[in-house]
Symmetry: C2
Amino acid sequence: MAKNAFYAQSGGVTSVINASACGVIETARQHPGEIGTVFAGRNGIIGALTEDLIDTSKESDAAIAALRHTPSGAFGSCRYKMKSLEDNRREYERLIEVFKAHDIGYFFYNGGGDSADTCHKVSQLSEHTGFPIQAIHVPKTVDNDLPITDNCPGFGSVAKYIAVSTREASFDVRSMAKTSTKVFVIEVMGRHAGWIAAAGGLAADADNDIPVVILFPEIEFDQDKFLAVVKEKVESHEYCSIVVSEGAHWPDGRFLAEQGTRDAFGHAQLGGAAPVVANMVKDALGYKYHWAVADYLQRAARHLASATDVEQAYAMGKAAVEFAIAGDNAIMPTIVRTADRPYAWEVGKASLSDVANVEKMMPREFISEDGFGITQACRDYLVPLIVGEDYPPYKDGMPQYVTLKNEPVARKLEAFSL
Amino acid sequence: MAKNAFYAQSGGVTSVINASACGVIETARQHPGEIGTVFAGRNGIIGALTEDLIDTSKESDAAIAALRHTPSGAFGSCRYKMKSLEDNRREYERLIEVFKAHDIGYFFYNGGGDSADTCHKVSQLSEHTGFPIQAIHVPKTVDNDLPITDNCPGFGSVAKYIAVSTREASFDVRSMAKTSTKVFVIEVMGRHAGWIAAAGGLAADADNDIPVVILFPEIEFDQDKFLAVVKEKVESHEYCSIVVSEGAHWPDGRFLAEQGTRDAFGHAQLGGAAPVVANMVKDALGYKYHWAVADYLQRAARHLASATDVEQAYAMGKAAVEFAIAGDNAIMPTIVRTADRPYAWEVGKASLSDVANVEKMMPREFISEDGFGITQACRDYLVPLIVGEDYPPYKDGMPQYVTLKNEPVARKLEAFSL
């Protein structure tokens, strides 16, 4: 008798996490002998804990197919890190109880490092309690910081967005530089790892001599060196584009964004790193500036998704189900790069015990010697990940993203307080 | 004997001003009997004053065609407002002198309100000096504030970008609202007119019940009413998206962005209106927020241009040349809307004396009664302007925008100091 499956989205959403959901649900539907209904957690793992399940079988094939081109988390996500088994056995036991009540034998958890850890613990508990649950982690994170997998679904599309936006804004500044703006600053996500910031370096290439200065979280900020590089770029090109990671920081660890700014009421700074950097340049060098903070726009920009990323996000969801059917447990499907040029990749598999709690930072050899740019090795790594366009359908000028019905499953258990 | 033409780009550039340049140059090339070489001003009108002309005949047909899909100002633009004829007759006379030296009989000036004014003055001076120059203004402004024309090339693409980005970010916030971000704020351009802010309202439609609150420059900011509306939206939808115009201001005229914020050195605020609004919501209602400032990204986003906008930008350039050949002077081609549904438009013509120094604001009936949204009349106006996608070509994941050779024309006159 086919067991049901549970699927949940975790942490910050991306423009392609729903493509993974699409891969999970479509593949499960192709295997009715092995997998019954896919229940989704409403607002991620909280939906499992509170027995707030969504019956995805109520969604049409067309609606599920539309997830492939819809950004965000269609079932809701959450920021809710489960504690260790020792500190919060109650929650893990509740998960097992809910899975038991709804005859769930497969746990698909779509997220980053924290959710890989949770997924791993669920598989361990399952062993101890004797209730069999196959726990499979589906990788997702714009931060691109999961280990073992060559890259993470969600990253390629953010990288494309930042690379394209930086190129476009650079063309704009170049036009204005004679009498007006000379420096453009764009702030990007990535508090610990500089992968997204690195993508800004792709604005320049052999055909586009664009002066880009990148501030990585991996490199301690050196104000004098930074200002000297900006000055040199503006003198040689009349303008300069600066890509600053939200995680860029001073040698003492303080983020650039924490500039000690206070408003009239004494509240701490309102702004991000971009205005701080822009003002620093203005004060020292006198250049007129503009700055942008992309924030959610970068990770929600399904309109500019990387086709490679969409394909891989779907493939990870599909592989998760196929691995589950094959009997795997406590694993995560991975992307294995088999060649750079032409780019080739295949689906691999990692043990969750090797994935949980490991952060993959930018290798130093991906950052140029001066610390403000990317190397050829970094380009070779990044470019394949942004290749291809995968446009959503449009109606009346607007992308047609799907909103699911998200019908609840009848509860069978007592309420549970978080 | 065919006279040469002068073309210049003025003020803030857009994602489609080069499509107008393309229209001007391609149309001129089709009429060699009437128009000789098109010279472009390097960095706008400054190129004319300093006799820094670009010979566009050195560019291949393919390079000129690529302007249609290239954002920014390919010849450089400038912010340089010429004073009145009385105050600065010297500069106007210099223009005539340069035009005379290079046998220029046509002056095509591509810009907003200020450049329409300059263009008008050149045509007046031409009359007085007896040197015949046909001065034609080619409309361009993301602010959409030129009179007579139904809309301005450049606006439709920004509107599409803001509408799409607001929808995408709203999907994102909705996913996170249960345990994390509940309010997303996006700051958009438009210091005087709220046209761009209004476009954020298109994120919601009959199929997308998205709670959007808009802060227009046309409506004095009322903090209590604003907070009440945000609270009501979050209570009904779990989240809320706020679109704030950079020109949103208090009843006394102070911009929201001027919050009295000081950095450690006592410098005035670094940030924009978005962080101010976000913090205001957090302080009063306790909602977790995210905010973005689109800045140049919105007006450079050729990757998401409106096909209608691209077509109209090209048509304005083409019409300018055709009007010139037909003998017109001191005019601007316009977009005349002949029907809403299905949308239909044709090229019209306005006298520059009616265009110069008139700003078109949002009509009050386009703003909802409570002042925080758009009406059906506004939708009927906006939607046709964002319809259609016109994607640039991509290579290795990146849009292929053209950078022209921009070869200089040999100078014939003495230097001129600005």
